[in-house]
Structures are given as C-alpha cells and as structure tokens.
Assembly symmetry: C2
Homo-oligomer: 320 residues x 2
C-alpha cells in the first residue's frame, strides 16, 4: 500500500524533511498523488506538516495498531512476520482461523481496535470497546500433540504479564490458567483455540484481549485496564510490540523443549500458588490449596484429605 | 426435495402400485410434474415401471449413498439425524468442518461417492476412486477435554471393523490406532479432526473412508476392498447404515462413561497385541512388543529393556 510506503520512507529519514519531489521520484507517483496520500495519512491521525523549501515532516504519529507502526524496527523471528490490521472485526480469532485454514504462515497476526463479537473462554463473550484496547490473534503451527497445547496457553499469559511489568511497572499477576490480573482485577484474557488431528496439531490460534487505555466504566465488573492502574494513558503500540517480543522469545524456548523454564517463570508470576482456591468446571466445584503447576500445565491442588489432585480445566476463584 | 418425497412415498407402500393421480394428489403437484420427477429418479438409477391401470412400481433401487436410502428405517439416536449427500466433493471432512463451524448439529453426516482431495492422517492423501467406495464424515460435539478425543478414534475403528464382520463375515482387524485391515491389507482409514479450546472441544469430525466395491487396481499398494476379500459386490448402503448403527451405539457408551468397555472390545478386534511392532513418529522409530492399549488410548510397548513405554502417536508396522 502506498500510504505504508510513504510512512516507511519517513521513518527511514526520521530527523529530516522529505520533499514532495523526492517522494514522487522514489515512489514513482505524481506530485498530486503524493499530496493525496499525505492527506490520507493525516486522516489516519498522522500530523504531517509541510515546510516551505524543506518539505514534509511527521510531527506526531497516532497510537494506531497498524502493520507499519507495529512492525517498525521490530526484531522477532517468528511472531508478527505479517500483520493484518483492522479497525473493527467480528472476532480476531475467527479471522485468524479462516486465514490459517487457508494456509497462512506461522507467526501471522490479526489485530483489531475493536471487536463486534469478541469471544472468551468456554463460549463466553469478551467485551471489546472501541479504540482503547488491543485485540489480536496469533497463528502458530507448533509440531506438538494436542495435549501439549496448554504450554502455549501458559507462555502466552507469561508474555503478557511480563510485558505489563516491563512497560508499565505494574504488578501484573497470572491466575491459572491464563488470566492476567492487576490488583486482582482482570486486565487481559486469552483464548487458545486449535485445529488438530488426534496426533498432530494443524494450527493454534492464541487470541489475546488486553484492556490498555480503556475506561473502567466501559468494562465488565472485575475488569480493569493498564491506564486505570497506571494513572495515565500508555502507548498501545508499545504494549503490543512488547507482547510480540516476549511471545517470540518464549515460543522459541517452548519449541526448543524448554517448557520447564517457562513453567518456572510462569509460577513466579502466579498469585494463586499457596492460596486456597475453588475450581469450578461444569457443575462441579472443588476446593483446596493450589500448590503447583506441573509440566503439562495442570494445576495441582492439595485437598483437605491431604491428597493431591491434578486439575486440567476450570475456573479458579481465590478464597480468603 | 420432491424426488425424495416421492421415494419416501413409494417406500411406505412397498408392496403396491402407486398411480400418478395418487402421487399428484398427495404431493400437491401436477401429473406432468410427477412424470418429470419419476424421470429424475430413473436417471438416478431407480428402475421404475409404469403398469397400465395399476400405476408406478419401483422394481429395483440403485446402491446410492443418498439421504433417503441411508436413513430409511434407520433407528439411531445421535448419528445421521441429517445426511448431506454428494456425488463428489473435495473432502467430506472439509465440508463437514465448514458446516460444524456454522453450528451444524451433532450427528450430522456428510457423505460422498468420491472425493477429489481426500485426506488421510498426518497430511497424507486418501485415494477415493469414483462410485465404489464410501467416504463420509460425522460431526460430533462431545463434552470432553481435547486429550480424551482418542476414545472417539478408537470407537470409530471398532464400529467399522465390527460392521464388516457383521455384514460380510470377514475377519476385519484394527491396527492401532484406527486402521481397519482384512488379510493385513487396509480396507478403511479414519481421520479424526477437532476444533477445540485448551479445555473444551467445540466439535470433532470423524472422517471415514472405506473401500467397499472398489477394484484393487484402483487402490494404492497394501490396500484392499470388502468386495475383493468377500468375492462379490456388497451393498454400500447396508455397510454404511451398519456403521451408523454401531457408531451410534458406541458413541452413546462413550458418552455415558463406558470407555473401559469400548477399549475391551477394541482390543478383541486388534491384531497387533502380542506382536512385535515398530512405531514411527516424525524421525524416530521405536520397537517393542505391543502389550496393551490403556484407557487413554495409548499403545503400551514392552521394550527390550523390560520397561514399558506409552506411545501416544505414530504409525505401527507389525514385524515378523
């Protein structure tokens, strides 16, 4: 896309001014076309000024989740090789699933600034208000068995929690299996879906919904955003890029067999270990002390009987 | 569809003759339309004769895998509530997957007389020559975890092997996990695919490709058909209906927690137990004596070291 080419050209010459003539020559388009694309970019939120005798200069960039902004100088090996960016979609997981079915490469991202039918775990809804959060899905093609996919769920939660700590210095914690909380309120949910044979995964879609600059009144009860906890707006582009980098790092670790190290870091980010929890699954509820997460991603509960129970699925509530 | 309504009307009055006038009145269409639909059915292979003063009578029906023929007096609770029948499709699993994504009910079947892009396990091709085999996919929505799906693979193989024994009295055996063999040659392959979250299956597609009246020269090396082993053609409709009935029975057993009984019957149909086998998975091969299949569907190998190994995936070759 020409708009993107112009942006990338500006980005490569960040200090200086670029004349319409130069852009016209470099991109092989007319001066009138250059002007039209500059107008497009202004409408997208880029503040571009024209200085007589000097040329155009980008004064400020919008915090928009576009491929150009997200990929700018992003150094990853697997994640975000390609980014499909939408202002709105029904569900980024649906869009990504459709791409993956038709052969989309590992690492590709579908991202949207809002979703009209965002989905959460176990068929639940995920509220995705316009323009202040980030909702994205990552296509992965790990060479593992379906039963091993929980490792990817864990490393995704770890990547998000770690990014929030790194970028906003907030005490983000993980609640098993994959909610990310700040001050006991949910800031990020992850929905892992897969398409698999009995003994071979075709692809996995990790859907990540993260409340970044979302106002609390737009969110369901028990949810918060990074802005609400941090006290100020924070760059969505920076947060999402940070998550891409961490996902890239931990997914490579996972692929090279270092699940043990991932689980170790995951546990350091967990606030449920050592506490008494209730786990609800379908119509059953069990209670016990959460004592560990094993290498299969199962939650180990110490029951009142003194015996340990391995929990593979369910919703955790921490009891006081 | 009117053709189907006419067929069902004939089937309800199997002994007698039905006049064009009666059909016209019962179906609310003109005599000319009745005649046109009778012609359609003749083109489909139904031999329908018109007797003066008596009416039409079906003299013989074709061995066609249509919804009307397959469902006629079929008594099942879950399987084949609805049948989508095609002369040809790319892959019945693809068609079924697409239906399931859009909410198709549990038990629905997609069946075709040939496939242009039939798929087997592990990304392999499944040769589906025209008009003599049966290729169908079953949509299931079991309330289980992804790791439990192997039970469905096992019960599917059991259903096919048992049907072949019941209908053709041939010694059909199962090779772990889900090939069905007669005289050590493959007569049926099963491809189980699923769409799942980490802790919830959305749906499972069981794809069954079975060589019924297929000539050996049309099949890959090592494959056979029921006809080749039986010595004569056999009704495809009967075989497929038989599989539907057994699937219905074993899937209900599975749903009510009787996996133990399914595994027991599965083992009775297995010819690999007690033999020395090689299991290939990706680039690794291991050898040992196949001693058991456990309740998770894993193959238990006794290694030369004397220790047992649990095998979750791979291709088995029996060694002599």
């Amino acid at each position: 896309m020409l708009d993107d080419k112009i942006l990338n050209y500006f980005k490569k010459h960040e200090e200086g001014y670029i004349s319409g003539e130069e852009l016209s020559r470099e991109l092989g388009i007319t001066r009138a076309a250059v002007w039209k694309h500059i107008e497009n970019l202004r409408e997208e939120g880029y503040s571009i000024e024209a200085f007589p005798h000097l040329g155009y200069k980008i004064i400020s960039i919008p915090d928009r989740l576009t491929e150009v902004e997200l990929k700018w100088q992003l150094k990853t090996d697997i994640i975000a090789g390609k980014i499909y960016s939408y202002k709105e979609t029904d569900s980024t997981n649906n869009t990504a699933y459709n791409l993956a079915i038709h052969g989309e490469k590992e690492g590709s991202i579908v991202i949207a600034e809002s979703q009209t039918a965002g989905r959460g775990r176990m068929g639940r809804k995920w509220v995705s208000p316009k323009s202040k959060g980030a909702y994205f899905s990552v296509i992965l093609r790990p060479d593992i068995l379906p039963k091993e996919v929980s490792g990817i769920t864990l490393l995704s939660a770890l990547s998000v929690a770690k990014t929030i700590r790194e970028m906003a210095d907030l005490a983000a914690f993980i609640k098993w299996p994959n909610d990310v909380l700040i001050n006991s309120q949910k800031v990020c949910g992850i929905l892992t879906e897969m398409n698999a044979e009995t003994d071979k995964i075709n692809f996995v879609i990790i859907g990540i919904g993260i409340n970044i600059n979302t106002k609390k009144e737009l969110l369901p009860k028990g949810a918060t955003s990074i802005m609400e906890e941090y006290g100020a707006e924070i760059s969505r582009v920076d947060i999402v890029r940070g998550i891409f980098k961490n996902l890239d790092k931990y997914y490579k670790l996972f692929g090279s067999g270092h699940i043990g190290r991932i689980i170790k870091e995951y546990k350091e980010f967990s606030n449920f270990l050592g506490t008494r929890v209730q786990v609800a699954y379908h119509n059953t509820k069990i209670e016990g002390y959460a004592v560990d997460v094993d290498k299969d991603g199962a939650l180990i509960l110490r029951m009142d009987s003194g015996l340990n129970e391995r929990v593979l699925a369910g919703d955790v509530t921490m009891l006081r």
